[in-house]
Every structure is written in structure tokens, then in C-alpha cells.
Amino acid sequence: MQKIGVFVCHCGTNIAATVDVEQVAQALGKEPGVVMAVHYQYMCSQSGQDMIKDAIKEKGLTGVVICSCSPRMHEATFRKAAASVGMNPFMVEIANIREQCSWIHKDRQEATQKAIALGRAAIAKVHLNAPLTAGETPVAKKALVIGGGIAGIQAALDIAEAGFEVDIVEKEPTIGGKMTQLDKTFPTLDCAACILTPKMVECAQNDKIHILSYSEVTKVKGFVGNFDVTIRRKARYVNEDKCTGCGLCTQKCPQKKIPNAFNLNMDMRRAIYIPFAQAVPKVATIDPDHCKMLTSGKCGLCATVCTAGAIDYKQKDKFIEQKYGAIVVATGFNPIKADAFNELGYNQSKDVVTSLEYERLMNAAGPTDGTLLRPSDGKHPKTIVFVQCVGSRDTTCRGKEYCSKICCMYTAKHAMLTREKYPDTDVYVFYIDVRTPGKGFDEFYRRAVEQYGVHYIKGQVGKVSPLSDGTLEVQASDLLMDEQLKIKADMVVLAVAMEADKTARPLATMLTASMDTNDFFTEAHPKLRPVESPTAGIFLAGACQGPKDIPDTVAQAGAAASKVIGLLVKNNLKGNPCVAHCNENMCNGCSSCEHVCAYGAITYVAKEFKMPDRTIAIRRVAQVNPAVCQGCGACTVTCPSGAMDLQGFSNREIMAEVDAICL
């Protein structure tokens, strides 16, 4: 039998004015197991807390019920007080007689009766409470950043700055991501490479940061503070430590007709290549599908010219295992394929390009060395039509329902840059809406219209057809003038929607991080915890969470890094003891609980059980990992055999509360 002490708080007149606290204390004092019931003016004050502490010591209380304000206010205070004199903090329950009683009821008699009922429910619960202890787990003081774009780079730099080791895993041979392909950035028109490459170099030079490029995460196990991650280091057939990045091999390789993915296949590269001049790490990579030596064993020229002796045709994929305390996901985005939009002629004419391709055509390091030339015949285009929202805000199955956020701005940038470089070019932009929510964004867009004379037309392009003279006929509607337009254009640029990188979905499954229907990672709370995944220890940065521009990405990466640092500075993590628990004798191994668990906290193990006839049977039973379980209780209700229960909110405890209230 418990020895329970009841403490009724007046809260000045907040409670005492509408609830007869004396009557409450008297009534609750008669409940079974209650050895004392007192009332006091301010239970949360120092003297109030001392009163509780003294009572626990002197009367040897095993449970405490406090009738006061909401547990959201002072539960922690009272639990701490109880713990300070040796009582398990989870033996303290609060009956909320202020927010949910005295403050909402005017009738004194009614409020008093309700307060007694709430107190009784709390007493009934304390009777069944068991002491709970939060488990502690040590934290591995190292972070993993998945994705080496600007989001990953920024997060890694910020974490390393705080003194923690960081690994960046990047699937491409170099870090830098999509930003390396850009020419200029809005709204400042900074050169993208000029602001990004110093950061890439900083990453390479920081001895806390290890860049694992050309690598992939293949397996993730564990939980917050203790993730065990397996990383596949793909064979690049070049010894990273020996290669000096001189680039001689990339000039001598005879296999030189391979579409260059970095320039969106608009020019060719060799079988051994460095993606671009500022690549980090600056080492060559052999493309195994096209290398003569690897496919047929007849060549080996690069090994002959390499003075550093870095070429190693026998290299194999390597798997390494590492332990991390926290993971930042920064897998980024890709533009969607424009092939589905037949009417816009992307497949019919080389002069219909996507915005990222246009970006390469404008880039000094691109396939045309920065001169804007038509891909079909290499002439200067005189009329360029930009089509916005290609596949964005599109409810047909071809596109994406959401707004891709950055297209309005980069189209304005393209239009402006084109007019600045080639003032004799006519530039048309077809839009549904122009969305410019960002600092300096609207001013930027207005500059494109007002200063640079870009023709913005509200309306959609219906058809782009290649004509026999090599130009394109653009048929469109002008909604404001209510007329149909036909424009003869030399080039058409499609602002295609952004979608999450295709590696994001399998990664999310590995991390048990949740995703929305568009394969973007979900945040723990859209407003209050925007950089955390609902899975503890997994943080989000950049466009893996939704379309984002560079400033937003960098800001979020910094925020994610600060959360990681906040986690890594701790030596131990205290868990929440109110977690699910499996009664193995009742568990029938059906896996229902495993399927409803949003956190992957439940696994199954085979265990030996002694049967009544003294034989031993091996059964599969559920096991809850208390460090991963968040204590929602979904499994407890799902379990058909009633084996699963939640500590601190057990079936019996809640039933007892129901009984006490219905009395």
C-alpha cells in the first residue's frame, strides 16, 4: 500500500477564491492510502516545497499528489523537489485544479466537487505509479553530414568551428553541389563560384572535416547519440592520396566523347576526369563505364602519363563503418525532367533548354566559355522566351503541386543578365504569378522590368514548335490583354520545377526520418522545430526539406549545425522514461507494434521460454529500444494481445483515472 501525501495549493486566490481548498483537503484525506492532506497558500514557493520535502522525510511518503496549477507549469518543479529528498520523481502526480477548474468555473460548490474528483483521479494514478528511471546513453562526439552541397558545406564548417569532428559524405566526385553549376546568384548578382569555392577550400583545409567524396551511405543503425553508419567508398581507380590534380591524364585520355554531366551533357569529357577546375578534392576519377582499360583491358595511357603513380585500375569499392552522434541530412534537389512537357518542345529542339542548362551557357566555365550561343547552330539568339512554372504548381501527374520558390527569381536574373550582356536581345517572360518574398527580391524583379526592359507577360505558353528556318514559334496567351500571341524566338528557356534528390527516399527509410508525399523530409514541427527531423538526432538542411534559395539554405544549415553542437557537447543523453514496454510472456510476435511505430523503436528478437511441460520454446518477441521510443503509445493500443504498455501512462493507470472520475 502506498503512503500518499496530498498537498492542495491556494495559488493565492487563484484557486482558493472558487475552490474550497479546505474541503478538498478534507475529502481527499479520506481516500484510501492517503496519510496526510494539507492545504497551503503557495505550494510552488520555497516554503511550500520545503513542506512537501519535510512530509516525505517525516511521514515516509511513497507518493505525492499536488492539487495546483497545470502540470505543464510546475510538474518539473515538484518532481525535482521530491527527487531532492530521495523520492522517485515519477511518484509525483498533479491534479490540475487551476487552469482546468478554478479559472473556468464560477460556482464554488461545483468547482470544489470537480477539484475533489480530479484529486481522486490523481491519487488513483499514484497508487499504480512505479518508480521510473531515465536511461543514459553516451554521445559519440562526431557528426555526419550527408550531401556536400552548400547546405552540407555550411553545416560542416559550423560544426567543425565548434571543435567537433565532421564527415561529409558526397556521392559525386566533388563537393559543391548544384551551386557550382550556377553562374550568378540573385539578388546580389555575386558570382556563385567566387563565394562557394572559398568555402569548399575551407572544408578541405579544416582538419576537423573529412570529405568522403564519391561515397554513399549504405546502412544506418542506432539512435540519437549513437548512430552506426556504413559508408560505401566507390572505387574511383585513382589513389586520392597520391593524385595531385595536375590534370595531365584528363588531357591525354583517348576516350573523349562522353557527355559531360557537369555541363548537363552540352559538351564532352574524357573517361578520366575532374568535374571542374575548382573541384574539391581535386583528384581525377575514372568513369568505369567508358574507360577502355577497365572495360577491355587495352589502354592504360593515364597510368603511363601520371608521374605521381596515382592510377590504380584494381581499386575496389570499400565499406567503412563509423559512429556518429548526430546526422545532418542535406541531400538537396534536382530540376525535374522536361521531357514530359511535349508541347514545349524540349525533345524536339536543342534550342529549348532548362534554366540550369541556360545557367551553364552563361557561365564563363561552361561549354561556350560564357558567350550566349544557341546550342543548335552556335549563333547569338536575338529573341529569348522564358517559360515559368514548368511543372510547378501543376496538379497534373506530369509536374509537382508545390511552388518551386526560386524560379521567379532566377528567371528574373537570367533575363536581366541577358539584357545586360546583349542589349539587342528581346526577352519575354511568361508567368502565372511573380513571387518574390525575400529580402531585396521584389526590388530585383522590378529592376528587371523597369530598368532592363524585360517583357513580362501574364499568361501561359501553350505550344513551342520548331520552324524550318531554325527558329521556334511560341504560342501563348496574354491574360491581361486577353489575346493570343505568337512569338518567333531563337531560344526558349524552361524554368522547371525542383524535386527532391532521388537518393532522399531510400536514405529516409534508412534513417527512419519521415517524408512528405513529395519526398521532401518532414520537420519535427513546422514552426518551432524547423531544422529537426521528428527522429531524434537527425537534422535537416537545405532543399532536402523543400525548395529553398541559397540564403535560406545557408541559414538553415547554420541552425542545424547549432542543434548538432548542442547535442554533441553533452556527454550523456538522458532518455524519457515514459516509454513503451513489452510483456514478453504475452507477446505473440505479430509485428503490429513494429509497423505502427513511427520511430523504428521496436525490433523483434528470438527468446527462449520455459513451457508448462518444462520444454523450451523459442518465440519471437518485441523489444523496445527506450532510447528511440518517444512514448506516444501507438503500439500499446495496436497490440492485439495487450502485451505492450506505456510506462507512466499504463493501461491500469489510465483505467484507474477513468474509474475515479466516474465514481
Binding site: A111, C632, G633, I661
Partner: protein, 147 residues
Amino acid sequence: MPMTKKEFRPKIIAFCCNWCSYAGADLAGTNRLNYPADVKIIRVPCSCRVNPLFILRAFQRGADGVIICGCHPGDCHYTSGNYFARRRMTLLFSMLGYLGIEHGRTRVAWVSAAEGAKFAATMDSFVQTVAQLGENTRLEDLRCKNN
């Protein structure tokens, strides 16, 4: 004097999730928004913690109405807990209907931590509905009665 419906005070249990609805109830209190004292709240971590057995138990013990409050769909602190609750309760309520427990005696409501007024209004309307239905004796276990 015979008991009229006006004098009848229903016993109502509200299961509120810790993160949204319990906080919403607190906010109703902070804003001094009145609702009938017949409602007594039981705090649960998530609406998905509410076992259908708790509701059956309440009716068995003589409760006249049970309401389950959780975060708005899509806003669950545990990602998808309230979806489980919604599905379970839909099934349970139709089963209760089959047993003769009127639909008005059970309800699922979504109340966020910022919706104190909505909490009070929901409780008001629920109490009214249950009061109109009168006393519930359908599932009551007479052995549980004290007298």
C-alpha cells in the same frame, strides 16, 4: 419531484493529448473561458494512446459521454499518432452505435495549443449534446455501482 432533462448533469471524460489539446484546455483556463464542470480531463501523451477499452470502461462505469482531443491532422507531435486515433475511433464509434450507444455520446475533436476558445466551445457543444441525450445506462455495469 421527477428528474427533468434540464437538471441532469452528465459525466463526461475528455482524453486530451499532452502537446495540443491539454495545452489548449490550459489556454481556455488562462483566458477564463467558461465551460461546464461536467467535463473532466485525463492527460495522455497522444490521442493514439487512447485505448478503445478506456472508452468502454468509462461507459461501463457510468460516464455519459467521452471525447478524445488531439492535435490537428498533420500536426501530431508524434508524426502520425492522431491518424491512428482517428481510424480507431471511427471503427469504435460505429461499433458503439451498433451496441446502441448514440453517436452524440462520443466525439473526436482536433484542438491545437493555440485554440483555447475552440476547446471551450467544443466542450460546451459536446456537453449540450450529451445532456440532451440524457443518462447513459446502455453499457453500464451495475456491479460497478456503489449503492
